[in-house]
């Protein structure tokens, strides 16, 4: 159990100083996600303008991994073209499913490469993905223009 591999400095830093928190207006898509095994929750909004994620705002309750992951998510996809955000989402999801064997691209995933160690802990992968599931869902809702604040959990 190499704790340092899991709780990398970068992760602890994002956990203690999360970036971009708070729910902001305007937004076209909102998603509420719950991790049923632990009760952690996130509400995440996307504001899409001209094919860009003009704002990603969120509020969450959760462990260090899920909070740090949401903060890193914000850094990675805020103010980024939607297509690029989707690519990062896929890359990150793949990394999380790699069981510790992933070799992430530091250029595209930046701080998120610190989560490589998390992928060895099956019970924590869900924590790391919670925010990303909310992003995926919120983008679908934004596209479908279903901005009603209903998530999977309600």
């Amino acid at each position: 159990m190499d704790l340092d591999e899991l709780y990398q400095e970068v992760i602890l830093d994002h956990y203690k100083h999360p970036r971009g928190t708070g729910l902001r207006e305007p937004y076209e898509g909102e998603s509420h996600q719950v991790n049923p095994t632990c009760g952690d929750e996130i509400t995440l909004r996307v504001h899409v303008e001209d094919g860009r994620l003009a704002d990603v705002s969120y509020q969450n309750v959760g462990c260090s991994i899920s909070k740090a992951s949401a903060s890193v998510l914000y850094e990675l996809v805020n103010d980024v073209p939607v297509d690029e955000a989707r690519t990062k989402m896929d890359e990150f999801t793949e990394l999380m499913n790699s069981k510790g064997l992933g070799e992430p691209d530091e250029d595209t995933l930046e701080d998120a490469v610190a989560f490589t160690g998390v992928s060895k802990y099956p019970m924590r992968v869900k924590c790391a993905l919670l925010g990303w599931m909310a992003l995926k869902d919120a983008l679908i809702r934004a596209e479908a223009s279903v901005p009603t604040p209903r998530g999977g959990a309600e």
């Binding site: 049923p36 019970m123 924590r124 309600e154």
Partner: protein, 422 residues
């Protein structure tokens, strides 16, 4: 005989400690595998290792043993899925046995029929029809009867021919536009018949009915491929396929599982819970309330690995050889009548028979005194017995460890039976 029987039965037998047992002073000849199979040391060892090293509750904690237990349990699910060619492990629900798997389906209908907003494929009203056959194990008959009783739907059934085959003459009449679900046995546990699933499945699809199989007696002996079968659900059970008691399986198409209301409710199947209201997790969790049979899943995975290592084609070929040998041996016994197909085609090595006027209890008792274990009674298929005008039969059944020598012993012991009751 489609494949050559290349099972090394003696090597197989060495894996089953119980086969060394004696009954009195006679070596055991276990010819009751259709009731429950024996388990190789590989299965019991895997369970023991799990209990002594990784035992923990699953999915709910972050500690190492909980992660290992979760991995083992979900690994077993993936193993079952690949064994039956399911597109995704999430389509496999662990239950306690086949019976619960079938009840899970019937209660999906029952619950949908009283809940608002339920998927109309699962709502039953008077006028709707449910179809089974006259060769069902009670497990695939009584739950549908109860469902019909509680919803007002009508139960209908396909008959059985004198030679123990499904009677398809009135298939188009029995399965019709009022039919909402057809559930029938893949392989009969009393007759040994392997049913022609394609015709029934095609007709069910034609009328828009859901269609499923009770594969309890198929999965242990034949390759089962859910995609090839074209069905919506199948039920089967661990203890008949070299696995432990306490675990069964329902496979159903993902989309269907998504549309079905939950059955058992409680922990692990929820998304969120307040005192007022609960929302549910997606399948498979939605159907697995409470602590599942974790060690049993580990044992089941080992059983499937064992069967796969033998090769299901070889398992089937051996089964067919045993069927042929049994039919030949028993067919030559004076006063013995086989109930079920008398040729090994589309048949497993589960052979029911009556013997002179001697009651099956008495037949079984004398055979036991010779170390031969067979099953006697109605085999949980009373309507099938009634169809053939008997209340009970004697049934011999084989598995991968069965030898021709054991069948020879059965045949000659019948002469002793005759002597006692002549």
């Amino acid at each position: 005989m489609e494949a050559v029987n290349s099972l090394d039965v003696e090597a197989v037998r060495a894996d089953f400690p119980i086969l060394q047992r004696k009954i009195g002073d006679k070596p055991l000849a276990y010819l009751d595998s259709a009731a429950t199979s024996q388990k190789p040391a590989q299965v019991t060892d895997a369970m023991r290792r799990f209990s002594d090293y990784s035992n923990a509750n699953i999915s709910r904690s972050v500690h190492t043993m909980a992660a290992e237990a979760t991995d083992a349990y979900e690994g077993a699910r993936a193993k079952v899925a690949s064994f039956i060619g399911a597109p995704s492990p999430d389509e496999v629900i662990f239950t306690k046995n086949s019976t619960e798997a079938i009840n899970l389906m019937t209660y999906a209908f029952q619950n949908a029929s009283v809940e608002r907003g339920a998927d109309p494929r699962f709502t039953l009203r008077p006028g709707d029809e449910v179809v089974v056959t006259e060769m069902e194990h009670h497990a695939n008959l009584v739950p549908w009867q109860q469902l019909c009783l509680r919803t007002g739907a009508t139960l209908r059934w396909l008959g059985v021919t004198d030679s123990g085959r499904l009677d398809l003459d009135d298939l188009h009449e029995v399965v019709n536009e009022r039919t909402k679900v057809v559930s029938f046995t893949h392989v009969s546990n009393l007759l040994g018949t392997v049913n022609p699933t394609a015709a029934v499945v095609a007709r069910a699809k034609e009328v828009g009915a859901l269609v499923g199989l009770d594969s309890s007696q198929a999965a242990p002996h034949l390759p089962v491929d859910v995609a090839g079968l074209g069905v919506d659900f199948i039920a089967f059970t661990g203890h008949k396929m070299l696995g432990p008691t306490g675990i069964g399986m329902l496979w159903a198409r993902a989309e269907l599982l998504g549309a079905m209301p939950p059955f058992l409710s409680g922990g692990s199947m929820i998304e969120t819970v307040t005192m007022e209201r609960t929302t549910f997790a997606g399948p498979p969790a939605k159907f697995e309330a409470g602590t599942p049979p974790v060690a049993e899943a580990v044992g089941l995975a080992a059983a499937i690995e064992y069967l796969e290592a033998l090769g299901m084609d070889h398992v089937r070929a051996h089964e067919q050889d045993m069927a042929g040998y049994m039919l030949e041996g028993l067919g030559a016994v004076d006063g013995l009548t086989v109930i079920g197909p008398d040729v090994p085609t589309d048949r497993i090595a589960t052979v029911s028979f009556t013997f002179a006027d001697i009651h099956p209890h008495d037949v079984g008792q004398v055979l036991d005194s010779e170390g031969i274990a067979v099953r006697v009674g109605h085999h949980c298929a009373k309507p099938t017995c009634a169809r053939f005008g008997v209340t009970a039969t004697t049934r011999a059944s084989a598995h991968v460890y069965t030898t021709t020598d054991e069948i020879d012993r059965l045949v000659s012991a019948l002469e002793k039976v005759r002597k006692v009751f002549a």
